[in-house]
Every structure is written in C-alpha cells, then in structure tokens.
C-alpha cells in the first residue's frame, strides 16, 4: 500500500504520544519491540489510540504478527478505505 503523508503523520503522532518515542524513530520499517521499545500492552494501547484517530475497529486477533510500523499502518489505513 502506498503511504499517504497526511495519514502517516497522524499515525506518527499517535505513536509518539502513546509510546513516548522521538518522532524521527517512527519510520515505516521500525519494529515496535526492538526499535521503539514497545511491549504488548503498549501495542494494545497504540491500537486503541489509532482506532480513535482513524475511526476504525481492530480486532485483537488481527494484531498477531504485527511487528513493524508498516504492518500496523497498513492494518489501520486498510480498514479505513475498506
């Protein structure tokens, strides 16, 4: 999926707020655990924030295997256009 700069900025803001990381660390290839220091609860919290910001619903089961920013971004924005 091609990235929409506006949507990615919104995504980035959520990640910065929830994970307390520097904005420049939130790149498409960043891994939540290794690069952003996020644990499973952080990820749930981030998804809750993203659900609100993007007005979508993400099922718990869909988070399986989501390790990178790109995967989470695609998951959330994919629902938006659907």
């Amino acid at each position: 999926m091609s990235e929409n700069p506006e949507a990615f900025e919104k995504f980035k803001k959520c990640a910065v707020d929830v994970l307390s990381v520097d904005a420049d660390k939130v790149t498409m290839d960043a891994r939540f655990n290794e690069d952003l220091g996020a644990d499973s609860l952080d990820l749930v919290e981030l998804v809750m924030a993203l659900e609100e910001a993007f007005e979508v619903n993400v099922d718990e089961s869909e988070l399986d295997g989501v390790d990178t920013v790109r995967q989470a971004y695609d998951l959330v924005t994919g629902k938006q256009s659907a």
Partner: protein, 239 residues
C-alpha cells in the same frame, strides 16, 4: 481537597454507601450504582446515583458513559457490588453458584476492564475490589461467595502486573463481619457466632471499612498495589 471522579458499584447501602460518603467528604465527585433502591442519603452536585445492574454489560457501559458525559473519566473504581446466596455445598444449585460468582467476580472484572482503558491512557487509576475475609479464611455455606471473593485477589494482582507501570493500582480490601444488612440477615445468633471469632469481639462499622478503601484509593498510595488489606479485627490473622 481532592476532586477526582469516583465510581462505587453497589453504593446505595452498607459499605458502598459509607465509601461514597467518605469520598464526598474528601471533595471527590462520586457516582454510585444501585440495582433496586437508590441511596437516600446521597445528594449534592458532587453525587450521582445510577440505576445499573452490574451483571449487564450494556448497563455498565451506559453508566460509564453517563459519568463521562457529566464529569469525565473514572479515576477511582471501587468494585463493591456483591451478593450472597448461602447454602451448604451439598445443597447448592448451579444457579446459586452462578449468581454469586457472576455478580461478585465477573461484574467486578467487567467494571475494571471498562475503567482501565481511560486509566491506562491517563497514566493514573485506582481500583479497589471489595473482597472478604472468607475469601481466604473459608466459610461453611459460602463456597460460592468465598470463591468469588478470593477470585478478586487474583484479579487485582494480575491487573497490578498488567497495568502497574501505567500508574494504575489494583488492591483488595477484605472485611470481616461488618454491621450491614448482609450481617443482619444472619440473625442475632449467626452474627454473634461470627463476631465471636474476631479478637476485637465486635463487627466493624461500614465506615471503618471505607477508610481502608479511601486509603488504597488515595493518590498518595501510589506504591501500594496487589495487596490485600484486611479490615477484620484480627479475625484471619496469619492467613
């Protein structure tokens, strides 16, 4: 004066009402839920009584929404609503088990889950579960009640491990006999039998339980989580 938003389930009488009165005195805004009769003694702009059966996910959701619309998110949850259906194991029905475990344990989990989302976001929250000395002391005729009350301990401690790093604490208050309708229902003999097991040789007042709740719910009690605070006059010392 604190000015937090407090929700107490089962706040129309007994321990819940005493908690509501104490939090109001501290300056907090207090919502109580009740199932059948609203509390007569709570009024003022900082008090709200909501008819809500905690066994209904819809009604719990609606209660939270009502509080959030009026005051903002719940910062202190006192999961206090509870029932008992006492009878000996040999005679207990599945319905008696389910009703007590659903109300005392599952509904407490439901309210904590709903409250924890905003608490996690705010990096602040206080959850206090109303357990009972019988949760670890045991009590004949109360297999359902005792199991539900000890279940709250595992619940509080798991929340502590999940949300502790987010500034949310979860603790348990474990009263012994308390001067409430629940104790009165045992009759004079039953109440006397129970208080005879208490070194202090009397039942607690509901207010004496409320002060323990208010302490664990205080903003200052930030480093206390996953504890069981007995308010039992020494009844279950060492357990």
């Amino acid at each position: 004066m604190s000015n937090r938003v407090v929700l107490i389930t089962g706040g129309n009488r007994g321990i819940g009402l005493a908690c509501a009165q104490l939090f109001l005195k501290q300056g907090d805004r207090v919502a109580v839920t009740y199932r059948s009769s609203p509390p007569a003694e709570l009024d003022g702009e900082n008090a709200m009584a909501i008819k809500c059966d905690v066994n209904s996910a819809e009604e719990v959701e609606a209660a939270f929404k009502q509080i959030e619309a009026a005051w903002g998110t719940v910062e202190v949850l006192v999961a206090n609503a509870g029932v008992n259906k006492d009878t000996l194991l040999m005679r207990m029905t599945e319905d008696q088990w389910d009703e007590v475990v659903d109300t005392n344990l599952k509904a407490a989990w439901r309210c904590a889950q709903r409250a924890s989302k905003a608490m996690m976001k705010a990096r602040f929250g206080r959850i206090v579960f109303m357990s009972s000395v019988v949760g670890y002391f045991g009590s004949p005729g109360q297999t359902n009640y005792a199991a539900s009350k000890s279940g709250l301990i595992g619940l509080a401690r798991s929340i502590t491990r999940e949300l502790g790093a987010r500034g949310v604490t979860a603790n348990v208050v474990a009263p012994g006999p308390v001067e409430t309708d629940m104790l009165n229902a045992l009759g004079d003999d039953g109440a006397a039998r129970l208080t005879s097991l208490v070194p202090l040789q009397r039942a607690a007042t509901a207010h004496e339980v409320a002060v323990a709740v208010a302490f664990l719910a205080s903003t200052e009690a930030a480093y206390i989580s996953g504890v069981i605070l007995p308010v039992d006059g020494g009844m279950a010392m060492g357990h």
